[in-house]
Symmetry: C2
Subunit: 703 residues, 2 copies
């Protein structure tokens, strides 16, 4: 029987991973399809009006479409699921670190994330769909693992195996990987992203599962794109599995180019650090506006939308018309909706370089920046204007109440200054400006996200340009190093700003001077192994603690002895079962567990499970006793009170604990001194208790 | 002052990483250069004799060269550093798991590994240089971190920061990654290999450092290859950073091809499982021969060399001559030493397909198998013969006393059956046989090595063929899954066979039924905080324990109290300092530490540091007392004796402990019950104590 259960578990585990891959791949494809069609339709409509020289009408059409799309996105986000705003990567990261923030992975969040992201990207904002795709993947994983809602009787017995933190986190890691894989069509990049950025605990076995999930995503995407290539999907259908194919260009570079590349790395680091700093300041300002309620959120979004429309429609007028190059591979000026040579206001035979960047979807703008063999396509002034606009818009767009990813804005801005450098060096370097754009994107990604291997592989999978790998690595390392001197990575910053109690893997230096007992907070509430129901109810009502130590005292044992730790959720289930007795005596096992099935004590989904107010305990029952020995975790991890806090932190974090019992050094006292939880390790808590402990480095602007 | 130390540490850390990358890249390049020149010279010599139809002389020249090279390799390996035989990956893996096997990373091992590998590969054995390169990288990292030998006064003060397990392991992880990066010219693959296969504990920060190291390797290799392209390096110089460039071929495949690919995956799994099984059996047989002494090792090596020569010279005669294809891109028959169309015994205008595979370096054979646009180059019979020979030779070659990697034989055999399938399906599939060969190689790698993401990325970097990625992933997953049903991965198997106490990340199911106290072995030896020197010496002499609990009893404390844990190495240093007292009294801090510098207690290199026999303690001193409070680790990690063994194992492994104190549940007894070490968690130990506990799955043939 046990073997069957193991087999059942393994089959389910892999089936779920496959389903996550399938569904995330499907959502990613639909997202792409919808965006290309909506945005494409909008751009075609406006372009046609431009061709007829009806510029004012074109602007109103363009801005109007954008505002309607933006307003709808903000409305569903503000009213249905406020948690869906923003990237979602910080929240997923915090969840995988053990922070169960409410409603982060709820069905409503999933719904808004999918449709809000489609609307937001179509509305022409300077934002991407990758963050939201990661969040979407995580939501899908969470909902699959929970097996739908208990309210609608959609739960399934088989999923009881997944009612624990570890299996749930594993699924969500797979979901996050699938999200990146679907957004960038980068399966290996997805795995590495999940590893480097998302997951806090990581095992070799998990590597294999995320890999399986992203392989499924890749297969799904490839089949669907293959299907669309025949023109069955409206405006969507161009481009293959590689989004920005650069493999045509052969990188040749010499030592002198290396200097330019080093400069790019430094510039990326500085711009990245500044970006994170400004973003943090702006998010704090926005949160004041957003807290005022849904209408303000929508208003803010529409304002930003109008500003974006003005920029992308207005700024191209600053650029002069350029004569089409005679040797252009592509048609010039472009007649379809996307392309290198946008006509805009120019006469036939001429194109407006700035419009090719602004008046396009973000993906197409990146494609144009990366394009090789088009040395002088963009004027330096165009690139400068575009960079300034995108950098500013990228910052002010992120905080609005719409699902918004940061990857695309960062790649866009980075590619622009990369191409700028490439164009300047045009005559003295052999490296194509398109490849400079790639290096610029890498440097800015390194400066903001502070990821290394995953960004490297994602860029490789995006561009299919393996020979650039050593240069990309170099640039990333430089920009990350420099930016790390200024502040934290953008996602870490947002985690801190949102007040999520994220636990770092390493202990802070000042923790070494403290002992575990120094940071214990609040009075300790212990239960006896057989406790009066009234006491338990009182304690549960009085505190928000999720774990209580159980201490047996005479007559239950010879000396006061720590039996173990009991969880709030388990206590609630036990009390709900009502196996109470009149006297304080231990019960035989069968009596206590009679009313319970194996899965009753499984961890329920976020925001689900029994609550204290659900219990109906009569006054008479309050005076009775309940034996909780059977639900006590009899071997909790413990540390001595004198253990250095740093070592306790390492233990807490490495094992992913929620409660850590602190036991006395001297065996004469009570058998437990206190319980440490995640909050007791937070710098704010510790520095609040010991203000004289200055952290070794000054705390960053963000903490 | 502390800030300066931190800065010093950080700068040193990165400098060392850079040096590891530089040196490993250099060694990798020299290895390549030497092999190509030695093997190329040998092949040219033989080929010229063949052209003059002096076949017997050609064979004797060929076999003679091989035997001399093989004999030399075996001799330096057997006499100078027996630890350098084999791949080295299992040893590095065990070291990173915490097993400090002696002489694994010694300078002599490094020397033999480098030159033995060059000689072995040049000798035409069916073995590769990647395993040895990993080991070489690890050795370089270890020696750099130790800062040379104390014997030769080459130590340097700055390196005292690295005299601890963690920093040393980090360096060696970087070294392993650099090794793979240098062997395959695959920087990202190297990082992933270090992560997936080598390292047992892994942090995000380490990812970044390994990445930096492999980036350096890539830059070094690229510069040197660029330098050689102009013909300054003898026979070496062709080929760029991508060893087997496949990017010319465009993969087009349909659903029906997928079935063939699934079949390839299954075949790879079966062949892989069988390979591991046979390899294990053969290694056990060989170890009987090798244990008899160095001459037997050399004899065995020479025998295998002769056999290999016979195969690679004799078997091509079985193949009939094929007319050169009219549309061949390359010259046919080949005139240089490597190429697709070896002439061998054939008349001009004809080539011998089997000779193109056998009578070549392994790298060139792989290149020929991967080559695209050459549909019918190899007869099915040739491929069949080649596969059988390589599969068998690969198994019987691994155990000989020569540094030998498994990647190349596995890729070679896998590519052969992949191409076999591709050739069979030639008429009904659009996929090139070269791409089938790639998939075959992936499937066999998955079946033997059981790595996933790293193999995938390594293959990607070897072939520059991104579009095959989903298929490669699929094939890998299938073959790994099937092979996992048979036995463990080849490196895990070798670790077990060598008796290295490797700790798995997960606890075995039967551990859940045991408590921590159940597996404590041997009598517990405790010291008092101020102990008689004689007692300490006696205990150190009597046992091999590396850690002893220190318990203060009245009058030193009120009640018996666990002070902490003291390490053997620290005790030896303390005793060597001779700050003894006549009476059993605690000493002021200054008195005890007077004779010691900060770095005296740092962990010395493997096989170095003070030994018990180095101490000179007089009889009088034996009766004196020493205060060890200052060298005691006062907050060791502890578990209660009743804690489930599985949880104790998780704690032990997750924190990378060497000693785990087991404390009593009941506070009345002595303050410590025992100490758990790595050996107490080994299945052999536990199942020896509790033979009735059958593991859930039957133990594999290998354990």
């Amino acid at each position: 029987r046990q073997k069957i259960q193991i087999a059942e578990y393994i089959i389910l585990k892999w089936t779920l991973s496959m389903l996550i891959g399938l569904l995330t791949g499907l959502v990613g494809f639909l997202n792409n399809l919808a965006v290309e069609n909506i945005a494409g339709f909008k751009l075609l409509l406006t372009s046609n009006l431009m061709l007829e020289h009806r510029y004012a009408l074109a602007f109103f059409t363009y801005a109007g479409c954008n505002m309607i799309l933006a307003g709808t996105a903000a409305a569903i986000c503000a009213y249905i699921a406020p948690a869906a705003a923003g990237s979602g990567i910080p929240e997923v990261k915090a969840y995988l670190n053990g922070v169960d923030a409410h409603s982060i992975l709820a069905p409503s969040t999933l719904f808004v994330k999918i449709f809000g992201s489609i609307l937001g990207v179509s509305a022409g904002f300077v934002l991407g769909k990758e963050g939201p795709m990661v969040h979407t993947g995580a939501c899908i994983a969470n909902l699959l693992g929970q097996g739908g809602s208990r309210k609608y009787h959609l739960t399934w017995r088989g999923l009881r195996y997944f009612k624990n933190d570890r299996d749930r986190r594993d699924l969500i890691t797979c979901g996050a990987a699938a999200g990146v894989a679907a957004a960038f069509r980068a399966p290996v990049g997805g795995v590495l992203f999940a590893l480097e950025e998302a997951a806090s605990w990581w095992r070799s076995a998990l590597l294999w599962r995320t890999f399986f999930t992203t392989a499924i995503v890749a297969v799904v995407l490839r089949s669907l794109i293959e299907f669309c290539r025949s023109g069955k999907c409206g405006l969507f259908g161009e481009g293959g599995l590689i989004m920005f194919d650069l493999s045509e260009s052969v990188p040749t570079y010499s030592m002198s180019d290396l200097i330019a590349i080093l400069v790019l790395g430094v510039v990326g680091g500085v711009f990245g650090g500044l970006f994170n700093f400004l973003l943090d300041k702006l998010l704090r300002t926005y949160s004041i506006i957003n807290e005022r309620g849904a209408p303000f959120k929508i208003l803010l979004t529409i304002t930003i939308s109008l500003l974006t429309s003005c920029c992308s429609f207005g700024l191209p007028w600053l650029a002069s018309c350029t004569k089409c190059p005679a040797d252009a591979v592509e048609q010039c000026p472009t007649v379809t909706r996307s392309g290198n040579y946008k006509n805009f206001q120019c006469p036939p035979g001429y194109y407006n370089g700035l419009a090719s960047l602004f008046f396009n979807t973000n993906d197409d703008a990146i494609r144009n920046l990366f394009s090789s063999g088009t040395q002088n396509e963009f004027h330096l002034s165009s690139l400068f204007i575009f960079f300034t606009a995108i950098y500013s818009l990228g910052i002010i767009t992120y905080g609005i109440a719409v699902p918004s990813g940061l990857f695309i804005p960062v790649i866009l801005a980075g590619a622009t200054y990369g191409r700028f450098v490439g164009t300047i060096l045009g005559t003295i370097t052999n490296l194509d400006p398109g490849l400079f754009a790639l290096l610029g994107a890498a440097s800015f990604l390194g400066g903001t996200m502070r990821m290394t291997v995953s960004v490297c592989v994602i860029l490789l999978e995006l561009t299919n340009e393996l020979l650039m790998l050593p240069l990309v690595m170099l640039v990333l390392l430089i920009s990350k190093t420099i930016a790390d001197g200024f502040n934290k990575g953008v996602y870490d910053q947002i985690v801190v700003m949102k007040g999520l109690p994220y636990m770092e893997a390493h202990a802070e230096p000042y923790m070494r001077h403290l002992a575990a007992r120094d940071v214990i907070s609040g009075p300790l509430i212990t239960f006896s192994g057989v406790e009066r129901v009234g006491n338990i109810i009182h304690a549960l009502r009085l505190t928000g603690h999720n774990g209580f130590p159980v201490v047996d005292e005479p007559p239950l044992s010879d000396t006061p002895e720590l039996v173990g730790l009991v969880l709030r959720s388990h206590l609630l289930v036990l009390l709900n079962g009502k196996r109470f007795t009149k006297d304080r005596v231990r019960q035989p096992c069968e009596n206590v567990l009679m009313n319970f099935g194996a899965s009753d004590f499984g961890k329920s989904g976020l925001g689900k499970g029994l609550k204290l107010q659900d219990l109906e305990i009569t006054d008479e029952e309050m005076e009775m006793y309940v034996d909780m020995h059977l639900i006590v975790n009899t071997s909790p991890y413990t540390v001595a009170e004198t253990m250095s806090l740093a070592k306790a932190q390492v233990l807490f974090r490495a094992l992913g604990l929620r409660h850590l019992c602190v036991v006395p050094k001297n065996p004469k006292g009570p058998p437990i001194v206190g319980i440490l939880t995640r909050h007791d390790f937070m710098p704010e808590h510790i520095l609040g208790l010991f203000p004289h402990l200055k952290p070794a480095k000054p705390l960053r602007a963000t903490t």
